[in-house]
């Protein structure tokens, strides 16, 4: 093993992140665009199987191992790091670029980790670097949201670590292989993975934290954490039934909350949970078709979601506004942003000739092949719901609806180029699905473009569009948020603690005198017996001690005799 393939794929990104602050603007641009491309080349040079082995204590570590699944995720992460950097060049703070490169590096480290210890290390780095991306917005809101984000993800990391230790003591191996939720250790590992996927009940971290990042920050964030979680679920828990139900919950949670939301980037954040729900459900079904579908959907999702967020980010960057109630009519002065946003919206809705059509259909098809009727009907309803909450709602309220009077131009060149690149990829993958199918983990026999499938999908989507416009009066935006599970730790928890503190301090104020008197009596008694002249602390003659021993032994003898 020589040359470029000997470099761990994540390494250049971490080294680049360290170097970035030391460089001038031009070198920074070259590095943050060049490194992801270098990593992309390395990913395709790493040989299949374990390519780096270490021994730690008596355990075997495999920090770099590759197969088709690792390569698929590594590829899309590298492409994402490139396009994200391109989009961020003119606007992101240096700290954000550093954090984003480390974030991409951590995600790539995870997908090439052959053992659980390496996985945990990159898992924690992923949590820290993504928190730093949130904080890079440098606002009060981002500081608070970043802290809440960090707490949830450190909790996930601790669960994962405890699970890994349990797994090692059960099996004696650190290698990352497929597991089943059959022991407390495996449940903890699964829980740690699911927290990063945005699964209930801790899904609120995602719409809470991501939209507080900068316009470019959220583009990076949308890609790595949740999809790294999808990757580890694909590798670690294929076919775990519980994932089907968790996935379905996420799918509908995302739709309902996005329908109620007013902030354009929070709409898209809820829709990340919705889309990851499709993937989690596919992993739970566990057939080759559904696993392929989940992997393919993660790939296409990263691209169209980043495109949607670039479009929303451009609007935020140019107008400083993020609420649907403040936006509208922007298509007149931001034509390119509008078109790219619509391409992203059509892709997420699985419109024929876009990338979502060739990936999401595989998951529904797998449910049909396994005769899972209820799941199939729910996934089909959810597909219609995606068009409703993201496919039409986002472009309609941001670019059309009422005229807000805002006339910002399209964003600067680098941001436009990043959007054009990803819009092109969305359509290219939709037109030439075999490009993606060729690199999926299992062989693909699925043909997405049959006349029946295209017509059925068009019926489903266009009639859900009709429902949107008919129900439009009920979808009018209001200045509201919707309470989520995070209410328990943002409101109920702090309030309960405040209440307890109040009660205790009131009690303390009332009882202070009594309390001090009791404490005084206690110390007086202690002093009486144990003080310098206390009976128990006095120096006694040896003779008196011997006398007491004789008396005790005498009592013992008498007691024994009887």
């Amino acid at each position: 093993m020589t040359g470029i393939s000997a470099i761990p794929p994540a390494l250049p990104l971490f080294l680049g992140a360290l170097l970035l602050p030391l460089l001038g603007q031009n070198m920074r641009a070259i590095l943050s665009l060049g490194l992801p491309l270098l990593v992309l080349v390395i990913i395709w040079q790493v040989p299949e199987g374990a390519s780096l082995r270490l021994t730690f204590l008596e355990y075997e570590l495999v920090p770099v191992a590759s197969d088709r699944l690792s390569r698929l995720f590594g590829t899309v992460f590298a492409i994402m790091a490139f396009a994200g950097s391109l989009f961020a060049l003119n606007q992101a703070r240096i700290v954000e670029l550093v954090a984003a490169l480390a974030n991409a590096g951590s995600a790539i480290g995870i997908v090439f980790a052959g053992d659980l210890l390496t996985l945990v290390v990159f898992w924690e780095l992923l949590a820290l670097s993504s928190t730093l991306v949130v904080w890079s917005a440098i606002t009060d809101r981002s500081r608070h949201a970043g802290m809440r984000y960090l707490v949830v993800h450190l909790l996930g990391g601790v669960m994962l670590m405890i699970g890994v230790i349990g797994h090692v003591s059960d099996t004696g191996s650190l290698l990352f292989t497929a597991m089943a939720p059959d022991s407390p250790a495996h449940w903890l590992i699964l829980g740690g993975f699911l927290i990063n996927a945005g699964a209930p009940p801790l899904s609120a971290w995602l719409p809470d934290a991501y939209p507080e990042a900068s316009p470019s920050g959220m583009v990076f964030l949308s890609a790595f954490t949740t999809k790294a979680a999808v990757y580890v679920l694909l590798r670690g828990f294929p076919g775990a039934d519980v994932l089907v139900f968790i996935g379905l919950y996420m799918v509908f949670y995302g739709i309902i909350y996005a329908l109620l939301e007013n902030d354009m980037r929070r709409i898209l954040a809820y829709s990340i949970v919705n889309q990851v729900g499709f993937m989690v459900c596919g992993i739970g079904i566990g057939t080759e078709m559904s696993m392929n579908g989940s992997a393919a959907h993660a790939f296409t999702h990263i691209i169209y979601k980043a495109l949607l967020l670039m479009s929303a980010g451009s609007v935020l960057y140019m107008t400083g506004k993020r609420k649907c109630t403040d936006l509208g009519g922007l298509f007149q002065s931001m034509p390119l942003t509008t078109v790219c946003g619509i391409v992203g919206a059509l892709s997420i809705s699985s419109f024929p000739l876009t990338s979502g059509f060739i990936s999401k259909s595989m998951i529904s098809q797998a449910a049909a092949d396994q005769h899972l009727a209820i799941i199939w009907f729910l996934l089909t309803a959810a597909s219609a719901g995606v068009f409703l909450h993201a496919g039409i709602k986002f472009p309609w309220f941001v670019f059309f609806q009422k005229d807000s009077g805002l006339r910002p131009p399209d964003p600067p060149l680098n941001m436009r180029l990043a959007m054009i690149l990803f819009a092109f990829l969305c359509i290219a993958l939709g037109i030439w699905p075999h490009l993606l199918y060729a690199i999926l983990p299992y062989p693909v026999e699925y043909v997405p473009y049959t006349r029946i499938h295209v017509v059925e999908m068009l019926q489903l989507l266009l009639f859900s569009g009709l429902a949107f416009f008919i129900m439009l009066p009920y979808l009018k935006r209001t200045l509201t948020i919707t309470l989520d599970w995070d209410w328990f730790y943002r409101r109920l928890g702090p309030r309960a603690i405040n209440r307890v503190t109040q009660v205790l301090s009131r009690w303390h104020a009332h009882r202070r005198i009594d309390f001090l008197r009791h404490v005084g009596t206690l110390f007086g008694t202690l002093f009486l017996y144990h003080g310098p002249r206390g009976i128990l602390a006095r120096t006694w003659a040896t003779g008196s001690m011997v006398l007491w021993v004789v008396i005790l032994l005498g009592i013992y003898l008498v007691a024994y005799y009887y």
Partner: protein, 80 residues
């Protein structure tokens, strides 16, 4: 100043007519195809059309109901 051509009443009317025609076409296209569903009902005429419409209306209604209980002003957490 005249509004953008996309915002004129005539254009919007035209868009609705085109949309209605496309909807009709997708439904009629089902007639000339040999649709065979996996679970029975999904193979019937225009299933995806009415199913997409009805479930979307259902999701909006459910969202509104949930919103009644869970909506708060968007400054709700600002005093944290």
């Amino acid at each position: 100043m005249r509004p953008h051509w996309l915002l004129r009443h005539g254009t919007i009317r035209l868009l609705w007519i085109v949309f209605a025609c496309v909807l009709l076409l997708t439904v009629l296209a089902g007639l000339v195809m040999d649709v065979h569903g996996y679970f029975g009902i999904d193979g019937t005429f225009a299933f995806n059309a009415w199913y997409g419409f009805v479930t979307c209306v259902g999701m909006v209604v459910i969202a509104k109901l949930i919103g009644r209980f869970l909506h708060r002003k968007d400054s709700y957490y600002d005093r944290d």
